[in-house]
Structures are given as C-alpha cells and as structure tokens.
C-alpha cells in the first residue's frame, strides 16, 4: 500500500518519540525537528505507531489504495 507522512514543524517539539518507534523513517535536523527519510525502511505498522505516539500530533499519515 502506498503511504506518505508529513511533519508539522510548528507542532514538532523534537521529542524523538517517532525515532524510537520508526527509526528508519524519521530523523532530526540540527534544530531537533523531525524530518522524513526517503525511502523509509520501516514497515507501515511501525510508522503508524510513530504517528500515534507523537506527543504533539505533529505527524500526518496518508494511506492510499489497497
């Protein structure tokens, strides 16, 4: 299934929760804001967990098709 994820930089506080759950998808830039790695090496379940775990709701996941 195709999916994509975006980071709202204003909401992101740099907690690193997303990196705990999906280290193959997220990293931090120098300001400790999350950035999305492309391509991702995590499975979709891990990315979903990261999105669910983001403490500030800064991550938006879009899943397309079946």
């Amino acid at each position: 299934m195709a999916w994509s994820v975006t980071v709202d930089r204003d909401r992101c506080i740099g907690s690193g929760m997303c990196i705990v759950y999906a280290p193959g998808t997220f990293a931090h830039d120098a300001e400790a804001k999350a950035v999305v790695l492309d391509p991702s090496t995590d499975d979709l379940a891990a990315v979903r967990t990261a999105v669910e775990g983001c403490p500030t709701g800064a991550l938006q996941l879009t899943e397309e098709g079946e």
Binding site: I13, G14, S15, G16, M17, I19, V20, Y21, P23, A27, H28, A30, E31, A32, A45, T49, E52, G53, P55, T56, G57
Partner: protein
C-alpha cells in the same frame, strides 16, 4: 579520573528510601497494589471526581504535582483516550495554576510550568542535547563509566543490594556528571534538592567557569544557548535561568530514573525464567524496559489546571479545577493493550504515557532509557547467574505518587 569511593553508602541509603524524608510525602507508606482499584475505576467511568490518592483509598494526605490545592475541585482521569486528550490540549489543560503570575523559585519557575510559545522557546534550547542521536554522547561521557565503576564497587562481594548500590546512584551521577559536578558533591546536590538556593550555590561556580571556557558538557550548552524573543532580539540565558534549568533536570531526572530502574530489576528478578531469556537474547532488553515503563510507571500521575469550564466525558469540570492524569491506569487500558495487567515483553511495542505526552513530554526519556539499558546489560554481562538472595525478602514495589522498589537483595556466581 572518577573515584566512586567518595560515595557514602549510608548516605545514599537515607536519601533514597521511599519511606523517609521527602519521599514519604508522596505516599511512600502505601504498600498495596493500586492497579486492581484503578482498573475498577477505569471500567466504571473515564473521569471521576476527587484526587487519585483519595479514589485509591489512601487515608492520609499526599503531596505531588497538582497537590495540595485544597481550594480547587479535583478530578482524576483513568482511560487512555481521555488522558491523551488532556495531554494534547495544553491550552485548555495548562501545566500551571498561575500562568502569567510572578514567578516562584525552583521547579515552579521552570519550563515544566510554562505554556505556549514561552515553553517552546526554553525547551528548544535543551532539546537538541536530549535527542536520540545524542544518546551516544551521554553514554560515552557519563553513563557507561558510572555503571562500570559502581559494579566494580561490589562485584567481588558476591552479593549486593541493587536499589541503593546501583539504581539510586546512576541517574544522579549521570546528571551531575553532565553538569561537571565532581562526584564528592553529587550527593550534596541530591540532598539540597529541597532548597533551590543551595543547588544554586553548588552550580554557580561551574556556570561562571563555563562562561569563561566552555567544555563538552551540558552547562556549556546552556551558557552558549541563544534564543530570539518576540521582538527579534537575540538573548543568552541568565545565570538565574541556567540555575532553574539545572534544578529542573536534577529534580525530574534523578528520582524518576532511580525508581524506574528499581522497578525494572525487581520485576525481572522476580521472574527468573524471563531474566534468563533476556540474558541470552539482549534484543529483549529494550522490550523489557519499555514494558516496565508501561506496566508500572514510577510517577503514575501528573496534573493539569483547567482554564475554562469543560464537559469531560460527561463530567462537568469547572474552570480552576485540577485534573489528575492517571498515567498508571491509562497504561493498562485494554483499548490499546491486550491482557494489560500481564507483564509481557513479547507484546507489540505501542506508545504509553509513562513519559507523559503533549508538549511537556519527558525531555530526558532517551537518556533514562540509555541509563536503564546500560545498567541491565552490564549486570547481565558481569554477574553470572544473577538472582535474588533466597534468604532475604523478595523486592516489593511500593508508593503511591512515586512508586519504586524497596531493597533488591541479589547474589551471583
């Protein structure tokens, strides 16, 4: 070179006894298992009127975040969904009763109590030193050496009491080490936690020295940090702001990690077969630590202050109320975890509220995890056949607002 001989065991024992001193104020004499009570409350309704300790049946008064505010109505929230909803709405549920008032001292004036843009600004200054990619920096500079030296201190004895000899000492030495405080003074600092002024006196000379010549440590990060205010003017932190930061890190990072490490070790030592599995498969160390923080979070409650009248899952909560977020109950909500009362390292990894959520989510969570991981791996590497001392009482987890293990008597070889 560090010499941990400077640490006085008896002094550690007094400072880190859940039943005495400041630890007792948070309900240190509570010895029952609160989870069955919390489960019944959560099953009955997500939101209840009253403080968590009163709802739990604790007869006395207890002090913690959000207590006591005798003038304010209190409500406690038990379901994961309701707790997360509160954490993620910081405007309605503020981290301080007096946002905007003149500041108090110590933790009261720290970013823990701030809101909105002000909180983001201060947190942004330290967050880069606490991200996962900085864990290596913490491990090689402070954590690994501390853990090995502490184990050196008892490895030839054949037995130890891990709660004091290891768990209590690692977190305080990690933080004071990152400040550049010598080991001889580390316990002075822990003892001074009751009095921010005294902590300041111990930190001030280091701040002054790092302003002259920065080193590779946390105080140097703070003296060099710059932020831009609303008018676009760049500032550096004042000495007072640095003292407040240092005080918050000590207050938030030393007791919590001590108690969570004790809970983790006690839980595993009480399950020898699981401990043997983990010894042989170190990938499970991470799962065990995550499960420990979910299953028995050391601080099972944090508070928020309600900024306008709100209907919370059918309960009317007036402006000015204190809401207790029952992390310990939410972390066992079957909505997210199957058989939530089981300690199960094989369950799928899912986010819990052990480190809070929302913009105030724990700053030190990756450092805390690194301390616990390093300690558990080192124990398993260096103490063959590590097990509970069969002649002593098995370790027990006690406490209400600050849960932790009592003595953890072990032997090996």
């Amino acid at each position: 070179m560090t010499d941990l001989k400077a640490l006085d065991r008896d002094r550690i024992r007094t400072l880190f006894d859940l039943r005495t001193g400041s630890n007792a104020w948070s309900g240190g004499d509570f010895i029952d298992d609160p989870h069955p009570i919390w489960r019944r409350l959560r099953e009955r309704a997500p939101v209840h009127e009253g403080t968590l300790h009163r709802l739990t049946g604790y007869p006395g008064e207890a002090l913690f975040h959000g207590l006591p505010y005798p003038e304010s109505p209190h409500f406690t929230v038990f379901s994961l969904e309701a707790c997360e909803g509160i954490y993620r709405d910081p405007e309605l549920f503020a981290s301080s009763p007096n946002a905007g008032d003149p500041r108090h001292s110590g933790v009261e004036s720290s970013m823990l109590m701030m809101g909105g843009a002000e909180h983001r600004r201060y947190r942004g200054l330290v967050q880069p030193s606490f991200v996962p990619s900085k864990v290596r920096w913490w491990m090689t500079n402070w954590i690994e050496e501390t853990v090995q030296l502490l184990i050196d201190g008892f490895v030839d004895d054949g037995r130890a009491e891990l709660n004091v000899d290891l768990c209590a000492a690692i977190p305080v030495l990690t933080i004071t080490g990152s400040f550049g405080v010598p080991v001889e003074q580390a316990l002075d600092i822990r003892e001074a936690l009751r009095d921010p002024q005294q902590v300041e006196a111990l930190i001030a000379p280091i701040v002054a020295a790092r302003r002259e010549a920065p080193e590779d440590d946390l105080i140097s990060v703070l003296v060099e940090a710059e932020y831009v205010d609303d008018d676009g003017v760049t500032h550096r932190l004042t000495d007072a702001e640095i003292h407040t930061f240092a005080y918050l890190l000590l207050a938030a990072g030393s007791g919590t990690t001590w108690k969570q490490m004790g809970i983790t070790l006690a839980t595993l030592l009480n399950r020898p077969e699981l401990l043997a599995r983990i010894r042989d498969d170190r990938d499970l160390v991470r799962a065990a630590i995550e499960e420990s923080t979910r299953w028995e979070p050391t601080d099972p409650m944090f508070s928020r202050w309600v900024t306008r009248d709100v209907d919370l899952h059918g309960v009317h909560v007036p402006k000015g109320s204190v809401v207790h977020i029952a992390i310990g109950a939410a972390n066992r909500d079957p909505a997210r975890w199957d058989d939530p009362d089981d300690f199960d390292v094989d369950r799928p990894l899912k986010p819990s509220l052990a480190f809070g959520s929302g913009p105030h989510v724990c700053l030190g969570m990756h450092v805390a995890r690194a301390e616990m991981t390093t300690a558990l791996n080192a124990l398993l590497d260096r103490l063959p056949n590590l097990r509970l001392d069969p002649d002593a009482e098995p370790p027990q987890v006690i406490g209400l607002y600050e849960r932790g293990a009592m003595d953890i008597p072990v032997m090996w070889g």
